[in-house]
């Protein structure tokens, strides 16, 4: 039977651009170009590899990429489709502006249930919010097991297995389907889309949904429905010139003193 994989991806501001906050202290998305979060490319890659390994065994898998985000977030979906995902779902609604982690996970959960799934694959965090907890909350909302932050992932006999590398030990985890996994940036470099993939992506279906399609009350999401709030945001001070230590025999000691002073050592 075809394995249904949903990959959650986020459209984030380009980290190399000049990122700013808008007046309501949400990300100013107009000020900077966006793209598919690099950390989510790893998730797409792992999903593609799972699908490919199943294909080699005569099975198959259907990969749906899912994003919650503004109109431009379609770019992130298109990139994932060019890499090889089969179809896409875009949840877009003006009421979503300013949605926090809890709200996002709610929308994702509803959309994932709408699509139907055996396995949900997420990145380890977004490159803008970097909270890294959406996969875990999502699993709770879906009431399914979670295998998070793995650097190796495989699928066999109705279950997913993964290796989580910690500081002290590597854990081997497994969960029966349906399940949620999140993969780290150590899971293997994502492929570049080929021209064939780019051309094919044009013809792949992208389903657009809004909150009412998913039966979500607008009050549960958005800035007003958020459980966390940004009270203040200040631009980081410009970097100062730094200290240059001239080595006149005492250079090593001076460096060490510098590091001790700042509690690095």
């Amino acid at each position: 039977m075809s394995l249904r994989i949903v990959v959650c991806v986020k459209y984030v501001p380009d980290a190399t651009g000049d990122r700013r906050f808008a007046e309501d202290l949400t990300t100013d998305r107009d000020a900077v170009d966006g793209l598919l979060s690099e950390l989510d490319e790893y998730a797409v890659e792992q999903a593609l590899q799972i699908a490919e390994s199943r294909q080699q065994e005569g099975d198959d898998a259907e990969i749906t990429v899912l994003t919650v985000g503004p109109e431009d977030a379609k770019d992130a979906l298109r990139k994932a489709l060019s890499m090889g995902a089969h179809k896409a779902v875009h949840v877009e609604d003006d009421a979503l502006h300013g949605t926090d982690i809890l709200g996002t996970s709610l929308v994702l959960a509803k959309a994932i249930e709408h699509v139907g799934y055996d396995l949900v694959v997420c990145g380890m965090a977004s490159t803008d919010g970097t909270a890294g907890v959406v996969p875990a909350i999502l699993a709770e909302r879906l009431s399914v097991p979670q295998v998070t932050l793995v650097s190796e992932v495989a699928v066999e006999d109705g279950k997913v297995t993964g290796r989580r590398d910690g500081d002290a030990a590597s854990e081997q985890l497994e969960a029966r389907f349906p399940a949620v996994v999140s993969v780290t940036d150590q899971s293997g470099e994502a492929r570049y889309p080929s021209f064939k993939g780019i051309m094919a992506a044009k013809k792949k279906p992208v389903e657009s949904l809004d909150l009412s399609d998913l039966g979500i009350d607008a009050a549960e999401v958005g800035l007003a429905g958020a459980w966390s709030a940004v009270n203040e945001a200040n631009e980081r001070p410009v970097r100062t010139a730094g200290t240059i230590v001239k080595d006149e025999g005492e250079g090593g000691k001076q460096l060490a003193a510098f590091l001790v002073e700042r509690k690095f050592i």
């Binding site: 570049y192 080929s194 021209f195 780019i198 051309m199």
Partner: protein
């Protein structure tokens, strides 16, 4: 009706993908390969994986279903970062695989194209000889058909052949004299010679001024025998075939030269903003600003020129003159931009670890390979109706 010279969305996406690849994969590693005159197998493998070698070929042969324009876009973006990998792609596709695609039999296409398209295998095209380059019709290499064994027996030498001696080179298509025409002129044909064929030897790599991470070799054929079925296309069509291949190839070289010229701008603008002299960035001086403005103008104009030639090619229109113009102009400004980029970088520009030093070394060959600037002028003058 809308008149628009901008790229369709998919082509822009391809361009951006290759730009990202060049920046993330090629840029960090290529300096090392270049310094040691090593062929960058791992980068070429990645280029193969993303389908670059299959860009202009149909999917039935393992290609990407794109076209020559798409190939040129990829070449420009690669060459913005490095020309060795760009020329490896250019020669692999437009000299290695394209002759087989354009002139080969079904069997030849099925045998060779899938591997060439995936980048697992590289092809080369051997036209130039020690005694003839611009005057490629003066080929001295001969191929005699041994009726008894049904084999071509090839004798001669080819020189400066790109991609001909890597570990993954699978074939070289060579031009050879196969007889005399009724008017007494030599009859030239193209023959596919698989790598490793007895009698076919590949010399060690040349020591080159530039393109140091690309493979260039001299080839010797001494009673080298290949099956008669290795004839590429029709007997006696070799001259016409390579003229067509070179006409197209000029557009590709033009795109590559444009990339180098743009790379010079990219590096120099960044440098001019940060390098301080006399208490301000050097880019605050009009002398530097004007250099950069001119360099940008060069790259932009060269881009328009190759894109014009490439779109004519795609539409099946005559493109010989436009291809020659594009190649002549872009190679000339690539040399100019590389010289100016080095100047803007001062002493650092003369250090091999700086990309502009590589650009400088890599630029000159662009005025020589696939038709020298003099040959381009001859072609353009001929298209203007002037005869010798």
């Amino acid at each position: 009706m809308t008149i628009d010279h901008r790229l369709p969305a998919e082509y822009e996406e391809l361009r951006r993908t290759v730009e990202e690849f060049a920046h993330d994969v090629v840029a960090p590693k290529i300096g090392e390969f270049y310094e040691h005159h090593e062929f960058p197998y791992e980068i070429v493998r990645e280029m193969g994986r993303m389908g670059l070698f299959g860009l202009p070929f149909p999917e039935e042969y393992g290609g990407m279903g794109g076209d020559y324009f798409a190939l040129c876009l990829a070449l420009e973006e690669l060459a913005r970062v490095d020309s060795s990998v760009a020329i490896t792609l250019e020669a692999g596709v437009s000299l290695g695989a394209m002759p087989i695609f354009r002139f080969g039999t079904q069997a030849q296409k099925r045998d060779w194209l899938p591997k060439l398209c995936s980048g697992e295998m590289l092809g080369a095209f051997g036209l130039t000889e020690p005694e003839c380059g611009s005057d490629a019709g003066g080929t001295r290499t001969t191929a005699r058909l041994d009726e008894e064994s049904g084999e071509w027996v090839i004798n001669g030498t080819k020189c400066f052949i790109t991609n001909s001696g890597t570990d993954i080179t699978g074939l070289v298509t060579v031009t050879a004299v196969t007889g005399r025409q009724p008017d007494g002129r030599p009859e030239i044909s193209s023959i596919i010679v698989p790598s490793g064929t007895p009698g076919f030897t590949v010399a060690p790599p040349y020591s080159k001024v530039g393109w140091n991470a690309s493979d260039t070799r001299e080839l010797a054929f001494s009673d080298c025998r290949v099956p008669s079925a290795n004839l590429l296309g029709e007997l006696g069509r070799g001259y016409a075939q390579f003229l067509r291949i070179l006409d197209e190839g000029r557009i590709a070289i033009s795109a590559l030269a444009t990339g180098l010229a743009q790379g010079c701008v990219d590096e120099s603008v960044a440098y001019a903003k940060t390098r301080q002299a006399f208490g301000k960035p050097i880019g605050a001086n009009q002398a530097i600003q004007f250099k950069l403005a001119d360099m940008e103008m060069h790259a932009h104009t060269a881009r328009l020129a190759w894109r014009d030639a490439a779109s004519r090619l795609l539409h099946g229109e005559p493109f010989k003159k436009e291809a020659a113009l594009a190649k002549l102009y872009s190679s000339q400004i690539a040399v100019t931009n590389a010289r100016e980029a080095t100047q803007i970088h001062g002493g650092y520009g003369f250090m091999n670890e700086y990309p502009v030093a590589r650009f400088w070394r890599d630029s000159k060959i662009l005025e020589i390979g696939e038709g020298t600037s003099e040959v381009q002028r001859m072609l353009i003058a001929r298209e203007l109706g002037l005869t010798a």
